[in-house]
Amino acid sequence: MNKLNIDANLDDPDGFYAQLLALHEPLDEAASHALNAKLVLILANHIGNREVITQAFDLAFKSTPRSSHTF
């Protein structure tokens, strides 16, 4: 399985999303960034497959403008 699964794969999408936001709720922005960084590391290690991770990196990168400022 060297292909990133980009189809819906979570049982309870609304529940997952709410859980993620709730996790960040008590944190200020800097702490939220730190938490996200740890999530990336923890999940990447769990996946443990560089090909899959690379596809995830690509998808995330391509869907993100170089600068978040819009004019």
Partner: protein
């Protein structure tokens, strides 16, 4: 800043007869090496052992002082053993296995360089660079006293050079005034600010890390353990890193990361250095400063290490930040790689094109060293807020999640390059173990005393054929050496009965193996049985000579 100078004039300026020659008839030497640092001295010894006359020029008159290399790798020890200085290094050097990593005031993990059995040399020793240079300089003088044409000239500064198709002309400044000397081959080992490189207007490109490090060598009587301690964000150097590492003679290397915007003059004043160190070591530890300096590190390389008759080796060709101890260790591998090739070219046994493989093999080595030391520096000195965020995330996770440990990078210690893409590599039999594939340095092996006690004591200095659990066919030469195209190949016979580790390291599941070994102890080609014409072809490949078409008897 010298606080306790170690300098001795090991090679004081002496007038050479070459200085008395008419301007129109300068002396011409087969090889001139510029720079008697660790790399220049290593190449000089290797060439001298191969019978090549060498002149070494250095503007200084003795070994350098100050805080420079302290960690020397197994590969360096193996190479220096071949050249006759390994035992001194090993005897004087400090061996260490345990490393501890701290964050703030807590240990977050420790590691052990678990000594792998069956090697003559440890993975690493710690030793001041001035000892290494001292042993090498003494070896040069010993070989010269025994008749080698090895002429180490202190107080000789190269100030100009002119390159011709088949030689190089150098202008030297001495206390007695200038003279001119010519060389068929010039080896530039004149360090990171290489005069030769600037005179030839060659690029040295890379990255400067925007950070300063205070490097102090202190003498303490305290009984600190012989370990490597690394701190992220310690209370005594908040927001920065620090390192404590043992050297012989009760000397300890201390590195303090300082950040970018600092007053470089002020930080090295004893009244500023001493409180810092006291805060690190605690109030009860008495110490003396041996040497203190501030460094900014960079990772740079030349684009090519061979420019016709001029060859660059060591820091003149490439420079790395010291995290991972790859500067001198990488440069010693340059020397090891270059000497046999140049010796064969000078002897007319190999084409000058063999020297292009020096460039490609050692640029690969330098690229690996630069990659590793850049990554370590990026971890220690995060270059942006986001890289600091990830660095701190790793450190936050380390104590609870073992997966984060291998992500912590306070320097990946030097390992030898494996020249996988080398044009000199010949046949490979993939059923043999990957660690000893063509391009790789030999892996050491204990041997019975009668066979020389260690494989790496037997190997090197010439081409060899390592024949394991195999009988050379009766119709083939059976002696201890045979010749191919004017090059002697010495046969080393081993069996898994008297050298059992040959099984995992050289045979794997194969019943027998035959390895062609280069003079720098790297594998050139390998097979599971002896085939004379295959060996001949591989030797030609290994010396960059186009082989005659194989006329294999059917």
């Amino acid at each position: 800043m010298p606080l306790n100078s170690q300098s001795e004039l090991l090679y004081p300026y002496r007038r050479s007869p070459d200085q008395d020659r008419a301007l129109s008839a300068p002396a011409r030497k087969p090889v001139i090496i510029v720079g008697a640092g660790p790399i220049g001295l290593t190449v000089a010894i290797d060439l001298a052992l191969k019978g090549i006359p060498v002149v070494i020029l250095d503007e200084a008159e003795g070994i350098g002082v100050g805080s420079r290399a302290i960690c020397f790798s197994r590969r360096t020890l193996e190479i220096l053993s071949r050249l006759g200085c390994g035992d001194q290094m090993l005897e004087k050097g400090v061996q260490w296995n345990t490393g501890r990593v701290f964050r703030k005031d807590r240990q977050i993990y420790e590691f052990n360089l678990s000594p792998e059995q069956g090697f003559k040399h440890p993975a690493f020793i710690n030793l001041q660079q001035y000892y290494m240079e001292g042993y090498l300089a003494a070896r040069v003088q010993e070989l010269a006293a025994r008749g080698a044409t090895l002429d180490l000239r202190g107080g000789n500064k190269v100030t100009a050079l002119e390159c011709f198709d088949d030689y190089v002309s150098l202008e030297i400044t001495t206390p007695d005034g200038p003279y001119t000397i010519e060389a068929d081959w010039l080896i530039a080992c004149d360090g990171p600010r290489s005069t030769i490189r600037s005179l030839m207007q060659l690029d040295f490109k890379g990255r400067v890390f925007e950070d300063n490090f205070l490097i102090a060598d202190v003498v303490m009587k305290a009984d600190f353990p012989t370990e490597r301690w690394f701190w992220f964000d310690p209370p005594f150097n908040p927001g920065q890193s620090a390192l404590l590492h043992k050297q012989p003679d009760n000397v300890w290397r201390i590195d303090f990361q300082l950040g970018w915007d600092i007053d470089r003059e002020a930080v090295i004043r004893p009244e500023n250095v001493i409180p810092r160190i006291e805060a690190m070591l605690g109030p009860d530890v008495t110490f003396e400063l041996e040497w203190v300096s501030v460094y900014t590190f960079q990772c740079c390389s030349m684009q090519r290490y061979r420019h016709n008759r001029v060859l660059f080796a060591g820091d003149s060709a490439h420079q790395v930040s010291p995290f991972g101890a790859r500067g001198a260790n990488g440069g010693v591998q340059d020397a090891d790689n270059l000497a046999w090739k140049l010796a064969l070219v000078i002897a007319g046994k190999a084409p000058a094109a063999l020297l292009d493989s020096y460039d490609s093999e050692r640029r690969q080595g330098a690229d690996e060293n630069i990659l590793n030391s850049t990554r370590a520096t990026d971890f220690i000195t995060p270059k942006s807020p986001i890289s600091r965020l990830f660095r701190d995330a790793v450190l936050d996770l380390v104590e609870q999640a073992p997966f984060a440990r291998p992500l912590v990078n306070s320097g990946r210690l030097s390992v030898p390059a494996i020249y996988d893409e080398s044009p000199l590599n010949g046949a490979d039999d993939p059923s043999l173990p990957t660690a000893t594939r063509p391009g790789a340095p030999l892996v050491d092996l204990p041997l019975p005393d009668a066979l020389g006690s260690w494989l790496l004591k037997r190997a090197g200095g010439r081409f060899q054929l390592l024949v394991i659990d195999h009988d050379i066919p009766a119709k083939e030469p059976q002696g201890d050496t045979f010749e191919v195209s004017g090059i002697d190949i010495a046969i080393v016979r081993l069996s898994t009965t008297n050298a059992p580790l040959a099984r995992p390291r050289y045979l794997g599941n194969a019943a027998s193996a035959v390895y062609l070994i280069r003079p720098d102890q790297h594998v050139a080609a390998r097979w599971t049985s002896y085939n004379r014409s295959a060996i001949t072809a591989a030797l030609h490949t290994a010396i960059a000579t186009v082989s005659e078409p194989l006329s294999e008897p059917a």
